[in-house]
Symmetry: C2
Subunit: 509 residues, 2 copies
């Protein structure tokens, strides 16, 4: 009779568990017993009825009960003693260890020196680390991507879906199992070759295929560079203004950010900057983000010279140099580098679609093996099926065609936005005239609060970004960063006028 309460308990529990109807019976029995143990309704040491008795009491098959018991046994909820039956395990933590643990705790709390963590407010103790608080308190990116004119966004509605589907299906149809693997050697070789060829011809990058690594995008490339090329507390020079995504990654790796001003020739380090020797120098020489400046040759040489003298690494983020609407794209800084001090970064997110998450790095020869190892150990890029389709897309000439198509489209949209806004604004505000990229910069007088202006624009369903928010330093230029690449012409005209009028009203109230 000793087992009756258990059977009753379980019978009730099984009856109550409406939501478990779709779950197998043995699982329900398991859950009911498990819950009773955790509730202490079945205290440690109590004996369970035999499977035969329990099966009878619950009107279930004995196999069902057996399966449940085996599971409980495997998880340590119960123990089986040969010949005497099944008992609830001694679940509470070993008493000796638990008490030692508590006394250690007290000793620490009583000591004179409280750790810095102990001084933080209780809420933080429960949540993110100090770094985590910094990283999560600035929701920079997420709500960026609705409405006109969010910067950095490309138009992927003209993406050649049918063609891409066909290229992908080649590999899926033939069941290339080797392409399901992580891919350990720095990426799918034909893609690395296609990228090398493209970079050599179109970007004057100086490289062999071995130096090309396929990553899951620029954020991942930057993270790898920060972890492999810098130590915690090392200084990274960043442009001021700077791409927020790079800044976030460096902060996440606990690098010290030192911002250097950007003038009309690109990064412009002053004598004072040279006092803080950089370990990394993050640059967007082809098209400074967000200002749009092209770095001059003199400045390129200066940066290479500084990198060599300071034993620093230049990270050249060549994020959208394909989109130059007058003349050819600007040659890469990497191609000028006699010291092998440049790591070149690129991405397919702007040329194909953002979510493709395929990027590439060109690393100096001396680093290529180490980078390959760490890429695999720390990140594992994968997506070899996608890499295979992409390599065909490049090799068969579709990539070139697609870029030309996008360049034409974006060039027209840029012109349209520029004219639409200039018609309203006249000479009241200067709009950057760099003929490249996916956004324009509208410069505003110092006294205009660009953040408030962006907020006003948001009320009219426009997602522009205040130029000052890209700055780390104390004297930000005011302005608006206006992405046009993904906005259709009718919207460019409508919203462009609206935005220009909002700006005009602010400048001359």
């Amino acid at each position: 009779m000793r087992h009756l309460p258990v059977s009753e308990l379980l019978s009730t529990a099984l009856g109550e568990a409406e939501f478990m109807r779709h779950i197998p019976r043995h699982r329900r029995v398991y859950e009911a017993i498990r819950k009773a143990i955790l509730n202490q309704q079945l205290p440690p040491g109590s004996k369970l009825p035999s499977t035969r008795d329990l099966a009878r009491d619950l009107s279930l098959s004995r196999n069902t009960i057996l399966t449940a018991f085996q599971q409980l046994l495997a998880e340590g909820y119960v123990i089986a003693q040969t010949g005497s039956g099944t008992f609830v395990a001694n679940t509470p933590p070993d008493s000796q260890l638990a008490s030692e643990h508590r006394s250690t705790e007290k000793r620490h709390a009583g000591a004179g020196t409280l750790s810095s963590r102990a001084k933080k407010p209780a809420e933080h103790i429960l949540r993110f680390s100090e770094r985590g608080i910094r990283l999560t308190s600035r929701p920079a990116g997420r709500d960026f991507e609705i409405q006109p004119f969010a910067p950095g966004m490309a138009d992927f509605s003209i993406f050649p879906f049918k063609l891409w589907q066909r290229l992908q299906n080649r590999y899926w149809r033939d069941a290339h199992t080797e392409l399901l693997d992580y891919g350990g050697a720095g990426g799918y070789l034909p893609l690395r070759c296609a990228v090398a060829k493209y970079l050599r011809v179109s970007r004057s990058v100086n490289l062999t295929v071995d130096q090309v690594l396929i990553t899951s995008g620029t954020q991942q490339s930057l993270n790898l560079c920060a972890q492999l090329l810098a130590d915690t507390g090392d200084t990274a020079w960043v442009e001021d203004p700077c791409y927020w995504g790079a800044r976030s990654v460096f902060e996440a790796c606990d690098l010290r950010l030192h911002s250097v001003i950007v003038d009309n020739e690109g990064l412009s380090p002053q004598a004072a900057d040279l006092q803080t020797a950089p370990r990394l120098i993050y640059l967007t020489p082809s098209h400074q983000y967000p200002k749009g400046v092209v770095m001059s040759l003199a400045r390129r040489r200066l940066m290479l010279d500084i990198a060599e003298r300071k034993q620093a690494w230049i990270l050249e983020d060549d994020y959208d140099s394909e989109f130059r609407y007058a003349g050819r794209p600007i040659a890469s800084l990497q191609g000028l580098d006699p010291y092998e001090r440049v790591v070149y970064l690129g991405t397919f997110s702007k040329m194909l679609y953002p979510g493709i998450k395929i990027g590439y790095m060109v690393v100096p020869i001396a680093l290529q093996e180490g980078f390959k190892t760490a890429l695999y150990d720390l990140q594992r890029p994968g997506q070899m099926m996608l890499q295979a389709a992409l390599s065909d897309f490049m090799e068969e000439g579709y990539f070139g065609t697609h870029i030309r198509k996008l360049r034409l489209l974006y060039g027209q949209r840029r012109e349209l936005l520029l004219k639409t806004m200039q018609n309203v604004l006249g000479s009241a505000a200067r709009i950057s005239s760099e003929e490249s990229g996916l956004h324009l910069v509208l410069e505003l007088p110092r006294e205009i609060d660009d953040v408030a202006l962006a907020r006003t624009a948001m009320e009219y369903n426009m997602n522009v970004r205040a130029l000052s928010t890209y700055y780390l330093g104390n004297s930000p230029t005011r302005g608006l960063v206006i992405g046009y690449a993904y906005v259709v012409p009718e919207k460019i005209i409508f919203y462009g006028r609206l935005l220009a009028n909002i700006v005009k009203a602010k400048i001359k109230p």
Copy 2:
């Protein structure tokens, strides 16, 4: 006549550049001039011939020359002075800045305190950071994946290619442009729902859909946890032995690793361990990697208790719990957690294919918004097309079928390997009998050098891993970690016998 040398120079350069035949003419002119400037064959300040003269001298159209000049102008190689012509720019770095830079350099070198970096050997100065040297000097993963019996590998040759292709094509055919985007809200919602349902039913995880984030795999999930939940120098408790991939990520984030021994109930913290308060506790409770132990209920409660008292976070890596060949998978630690101190991590790499690079995290409610922000800012998961196909795969029942198929297959292979090796070894060595996972552990006597044994096996084309290499602490258990999941039966028999004989010869020479 002043321009003739330039024309000759370019004429020669253009003639020589055989490899440039496939490049447009204006580009060849651009390259030739650019090279001459960089070589100082055209020194700063020298005047270029007019485009008309140059066109005539080189027998090219004037437009070709104009295009080349515009490019050179845009890149700052030349400057145009209205009315007087085009000149090579003053390319050397500003002399004032350069000289200040040099004197700063000297001052630093002369100072009494040399930085730690200055003391490193020259080779290192040129290469990785100290952290980078640590991370790249241990090529743990890359050459893992050839031949039998690399641990952790799954069999993806039975992957349902046709079905998967069909599911993917649904979305590609209908040109879902919104699925080409990064996806800012923590992943594709239907996939997050499917994962939540699966984890609730199969893994007893306690969650709402909002807590599920889709990442690009466990490495990325771990990196995010380390960056958001710990600060540089914080302590992470890791299992000893431990999964090397987790160790690498924590090291890359400069956490201090504190290894805690694993006994037959899982992680077994001693009183001394409690002196070093952890900020993160990395656990594989369902199936300790690589030993295979299931963490007991008492130990689970102890770990939750420690996490709550120490204000630490438990990272529960539930990497292969689906593959349990007797009984049901073990319920998650997260489901027992009353304190919301567990971050639960999973991956589709083992269940579908490694390169899919889709994983998931279940984060406590208090952290979900911050994690979503940082996931987007720092990593951007993307691959929404793949996420959509995967959510259909799960919702339409294929996932369950596939797992059952794999479980059957792997269970048979496990049995076959176990029997094959036991037949040769008899009682000479113990093989772990945990009926789960993708590998077996063969335990060896203390005096056997397992690293040498693995090296010998490699000579016979077997890629087993020495158990001792998974340990951080001083008293590693010797043994071999033997992956069987992806090895076909004929190879299991052939290589299993071979390996057992190699081991036998070593134990009783």
